[in-house]
Subunit: 418 residues, 2 copies
């Protein structure tokens, strides 16, 4: 005899394709598993309270289930909310003129001499009041949600002094409380050398180390921009040694423009993620596996900055590094927060398949935040964070590019965008 | 003494930047003029009925003007509706799997052998009922409008026999009547060699010539895909000779993958536009100027198909060829109809400035359709087709990429999207 299911608060019915991304909550998808989106055709998702209570076929639901309320997905695609595990979403000002100059051939140095570059954003962010910063960021997160991002990591790093770094971390804290998104905070005091310390970066590192105890109250992760013109491997190590002592988990910017050996530090400090990886040395790839870190690829940056060579994506996947995709949303190197566009660019530029890119933007990205037990897939007991898309097949997500395919966003069991 | 303005039906007030694109309704923007978006800061647009009645400063409006209704643009950017002068928007089916294979290295021929490519879309479009085709296309045009396209050209060319070409042209006719957009029809019977004529393309050209008289009742333009694997220059000439006799104006697909000498034909037949131009010979550029045709660039295609070299855009501009941008929306080579994305890609890949790209997507595109006296700029007497964008400066349009910045669309003086 068939057993009735409990009455769900909400059921998403008539899902032509449900991408469950199931089976990888314990360990991120690697190699072949990356290509498995856990597809259920003609599926239904049952939601009770804020959690997913059931995922199964329309036929079973018709026989066994009922819900207080049903939403018809119209035979289209339903998938987990997108997880953007690397952004710099709290800042003031924009730098569109600078980009146009870059596209016409201006060098980074020429732009810096004109007062452009990252320090322009630092100036604008320092000048902005906490309320103004919060309002700007709320507007950003509201739009992110409309593009399907339900979990977002945000780094500090446009303050570059204690007062302003804490101002940003406080804004991130308020975004957690005042928006529907899951917001994860990362302290990135070591984002750039502020103008006060231009010829004295070691002293700035001292300052960053001094910021760590207060930053710890607001941020789960500590990150360092280990890069030529930013911070060396030994400076990075100094920050991380102290950060780990204080209980931070580690993320790292590694190999965006040059290889400073950050991957070795990732292994040393058991980094949760290592991000960028555009120009890492092949010999470092085994270290990445050893570190256990998720490799976060940022296809929007290499697109926006017209980087000639893609990162060694296939090599990373082949050896078993779990890869994630993120936007890196920021005014200098990627002014887009559309994770759908990142999925498109990952297929276009990094040779990922649609299913690999979707795995990378959901469950693997959740691992990159240590949140895979609660988000990133549609499995019983996880948060009911899901997207109803206006496409017939999931392969159309990267294919129909430059457009937003989100019809509805459900976050913790509630419709937050329609 | 100041004279009062007439009372407008509608005024768009508090426009931080109005891009008028004025001064080029008679002749398209060329060279330096391309960089002039006709910027008015703190402007107001007065609309009476379906037309623009006044464009001026907020200060003047406050002194002299009033309106039955005002819309507050919130200090943001207001610009003419986007003109997409090259699409294949009436078709059935999609080809996402094929694109993924291409990205993984499959050749055009391998895909064709598996039954893929353009003839797959022809099969699906032939099978579709007129009602189904109409409903698909209406959905497409509704979304186009939400991305800011207020005027769109649509080509036939997935029927490839009289009955099915007329079916498509009839759908385009109904789109004119049943959507808010201005829709321009182009007969492209010579789009591909249908499977019935694979080894006998000359006979298919005979058939196309036979279709012309009936097609003329539904289409203003005649276009030919002059390309290796499609139609030769001499076949193209045969079609155009007859088309021009019947009163068609001419558009041409030229130099997408190979140079078949179509530009010479453009001069010969006084083409209104010559489209693609990715691989034309330098010696043909003077012919382009001679033809007077608008050069329509399709940056979505070269992006989507990963074409290695951009078209000689700067050379075209330098010698005075007026350039336009279009999406080429179609399931094989550009499944995006976001003209905003095309503007981004034109800056990213073709080295246009933001203002050049915006001129190319508005007033010059209108010239590419022979419609510059009614659309493409915000000038008194023209159709009140305009966009309220959620950006602070027009240079942000290409900069914040992969996203839709349209807040409201006004078409013929009425809000059609908000």
């Amino acid at each position: 005899m068939l057993e009735q299911l409990p009455t769900f608060d909400l059921a998403i019915i008539h899902c032509g394709e449900v991408l469950t991304l199931s089976g990888a909550s314990e360990c991120p998808k690697r190699r072949a598993e990356l290509a498995d989106v856990g597809l259920i055709r003609d599926g239904v998702i049952g939601i009770s309270g804020e959690k997913i209570a059931w995922v199964g076929s329309e036929t079973s639901y018709r026989q066994l289930g009922r819900a207080k309320r049903e939403i018809d997905a119209g035979g289209k695609v339903v998938m987990p909310g997108l997880v953007d595990s690397h952004t710099h979403a709290v800042f003031a000002g924009s730098r569109e003129g600078e980009w146009e100059e870059k596209m016409r051939g201006a060098s980074y140095l020429e732009i810096l001499k004109k007062g452009g570059g990252i320090l322009r954003t630092v100036d604008a962010t320092r000048e902005a009041s906490p309320e103004d910063l919060l309002n700007l960021a709320k507007e950003t997160l509201k739009k992110m949600l409309s593009y399907g991002t339900t979990t977002v990591e945000i780094k500090s790093g446009y303050g570059l002094d204690l007062k302003n770094e804490l101002k940003i971390l406080n804004v991130i804290q308020r975004l957690k409380d005042e928006t529907p998104l899951d917001v994860v905070a990362t302290f990135l005091g070591a984002h750039a050398i502020p103008k006060e310390y231009l010829n004295n970066s070691d002293s700035y590192i001292d300052l960053v180390i001094g910021m760590l105890p207060e930053a710890k109250d607001h941020a789960q992760f500590c990150d360092v921009f280990c890069e030529e013109g930013a911070f060396s491997a030994s400076q990075t190590r100094r920050v991380l040694e102290q950060a780990v002592k204080l209980g931070f988990q580690v993320k790292l910017h590694a190999g965006e423009f040059s290889d400073q050996g950050a991957v070795r530090l990732a292994a040393e400090f058991a980094a949760v993620s290592v991000d960028h990886l555009d120009v890492i040395h092949e010999c470092e790839i085994p270290l990445l596996i050893e570190s256990g870190a998720v490799g976060v690829l940022l296809p929007g940056v290499s697109h926006f900055l017209r980087m000639k060579e893609p990162p060694p994506v296939r090599a990373l996947i082949e050896v078993g590094v779990p890869v994630a995709l993120a936007s890196d949303f920021n005014p200098g190197s990627c002014p887009s927060f559309s994770m759908q566009e990142m999925i498109h660019l990952a297929v276009r530029n990094f040779n990922l398949s649609a299913s690999e890119a979707i795995s990378a933007a959901t469950i693997n990205a959740a691992h990159g935040l240590g949140m895979a037990s609660s988000v990133g897939s549609l499995e019983v007991g996880k948060q009911a964070d899901l997207l109803l898309l206006d496409i017939d097949h999931y392969e159309q997500l990267p294919y129909y590019f430059g457009m937003n395919h989100v019809d509805k966003v459900i976050k913790n069991g509630k419709i937050v965008y329609s």
